[in-house]
């Protein structure tokens, strides 16, 4: 563990550089530059909230916000894990030439996704202000489920990255899987609209709990119940630990497949 920390410290500048590179190159040659990080989710949210204020009325208070919060959480999960999945393959030329702790590549992509997530988070608050929604003091606690979400996604990303090196068809399979997962998470529909059996299945999806907790803090100003809290914390920690374990077990073989 001590060597792990020493090694991490040695390569911390690399994490920095990789994240800065991701953020910089994404909006290079655009007039507004990094501002797009915030502008992009903001505009998307504006469109969605206009559309869904008049369309699809579920029996929920503030449906546009309900949907937006769901999208912030789910989009982060799907985009960060999808990006993580191909990190080892994308960085193959480097991995073949120079020793770098390989999880750094995965971690850097998750961190840059998390920067986008924070921008979406800020955009959500701006939208809430524009819609004159009540801003609860619990909104500050919204970062807690976000932290769990980042840990959960990093764990899944590490596992996907390790397997995608060996089995490339996971990349295609996973895009289908994320669609399935989206419908198994109450992003666009309320839990109450589900038949009972399906509701149990959706309930044990850790993303559901993370999302419920996030919505509770952000939109409704309520504290999560014990079940939701446990279903947020435990799977996130377990998946993160499992992710590192799987990654470490496989990392010496990556070079043979890339």
């Amino acid at each position: 563990m001590n060597t792990f920390i020493a090694n991490f410290n040695r390569y911390k500048p690399l994490l920095n550089e990789l994240v800065v590179r991701d953020v910089k190159t994404k909006y290079r040659r655009s007039v507004l530059g990094v501002l797009w990080t915030l502008l992009n989710p903001l505009l998307m949210m504006a469109v969605l909230s206009v559309v869904f204020s008049n369309l699809f009325k579920f029996d929920i208070d503030n449906y546009p916000l309900y949907l937006l919060a769901g999208q912030v959480v789910f989009n982060f999960f799907s985009s960060s894990t999808t990006m993580d999945m191909t990190t080892i393959i994308d960085n193959a030329p480097l991995i073949k030439k120079v020793y770098v702790p390989k999880y750094m590549f995965v971690l850097s992509r998750t961190v840059s996704s998390a920067i986008n997530l924070m921008a979406s988070f800020a955009a959500l608050i701006i939208v809430m202000l524009c819609m004159r929604a009540q801003l609860h003091y619990t909104a500050i606690l919204g970062v807690l489920p976000i932290m769990a979400l980042v840990a959960f996604s990093l764990g899944i990303g590490l596992i996907l990255a390790s397997f995608a090196v060996k089995f490339r068809d996971i990349i295609h399979l996973y895009s289908v899987l994320t669609t399935v997962l989206m419908y198994m998470t109450p992003v666009i529909y309320p839990m109450s609209s589900l038949p009972r059996i399906i509701r149990y299945i959706v309930r044990i999806n850790p993303l559901t709990s993370i999302l419920e907790m996030f919505r509770g803090f952000m939109i409704y100003g309520v504290m999560p119940d014990i079940f939701t809290t446990l279903m947020t914390v435990i799977p996130s920690a377990v998946v993160l630990a499992l992710g590192f374990r799987v990654f470490y077990k496989n990392q010496d073989n990556f070079i043979l497949y890339v």
């Binding site: 030439k97 120079v98 089995f167 070079i255």
Partner: protein, 246 residues
């Protein structure tokens, strides 16, 4: 611990690669073959019980024909490959001369790439700032530092890559066939720099097909053949025998 003078010690290293008879890289095929029991590999030992020590300040040339395991050996020493058996102990920082800037991001400028590349070698931004001017000076790319490297020529790229890798004071420099880049004037400059680093006590590991270069630069040599050490010792002597054997 062995004596402090040993900077790299290679102990009985063997490296096995599994050559798949047919390339299986999809899950479906893997499962089908695993069920049918058809997952077969041809074993290939790229290195076989290789041992040698490198002393501090030595410059060691690895020589041998194509496929003799030179590059595999360097990768094992650089920590890129983990040996199947045996171990490698390295006491010090390694600066691999990554060929033609493998660590460059083509969308970033030369300046940004200096820091990115430095970070890949485990150096902090501050350390790179200290040697930044020296890098610019040596690579002769002052007016191009703020141009994205995708607009660089291959010569410019390798000049920058060489300057970054040899900046700072790494204990061990790994040179793999890179001296064939740039024009002859820059090649001379590179050789001169390697010599200067050696004078300062940097250990150099050198791989080249040009036996003359090995004789020129190195004082020790290890001759690999078919993944085994054929001979090791003084570079003049070994190079002489190697040349006659051809």
């Amino acid at each position: 611990m062995e004596d402090n003078n040993t900077i790299i010690s290679v102990n009985d290293v063997s490296m096995r690669f599994n050559l798949a008879r047919e390339k299986v890289d999809s899950l479906k095929e893997y499962i089908i073959r695993a069920v049918k029991g058809k997952l077969q590999y041809d074993e290939f030992w790229a290195l076989n019980n290789v041992s040698f020590d490198v002393n501090k300040g030595d410059s060691v040339g690895l020589i041998g024909l194509n496929g003799s395991g030179k590059s595999t050996m360097l990768k094992v020493i650089a920590g890129v490959l983990k040996p199947t058996r045996g171990s490698v102990r390295v006491n010090g920082s390694v600066a691999p001369l990554i060929e033609l800037g493998a660590g460059f991001d083509i969308d970033l400028t030369g300046r940004e790439n200096v820091f990115l590349n430095g970070a890949l070698l485990g150096r902090s931004r501050k350390m790179m700032q200290e040697v930044f001017d020296e890098i610019v000076e040596f690579s002769e790319l002052r007016e191009f530092m703020d141009v994205p490297v995708k607009n660089y020529s291959s010569g410019m790229l390798s000049r920058l890559a060489f300057s970054i890798a040899t900046s700072g004071d790494a204990d061990i420099l790994i040179v793999d066939e890179v001296l064939s880049v740039g024009d002859f004037r820059f090649q001379e400059k590179c050789q001169e720099r390697i010599h200067r680093m050696m004078d300062k006590g940097t250990t150099v590991l050198f791989v080249s097909h040009s036996i003359e270069q090995v004789e020129e630069i190195c004082n020790k040599a290890v001759w690999l053949e078919g993944g085994k050490v054929r001979m090791k010792g003084d570079s003049k002597e070994i190079c002489g025998i190697y040349k006659q054997s051809r």
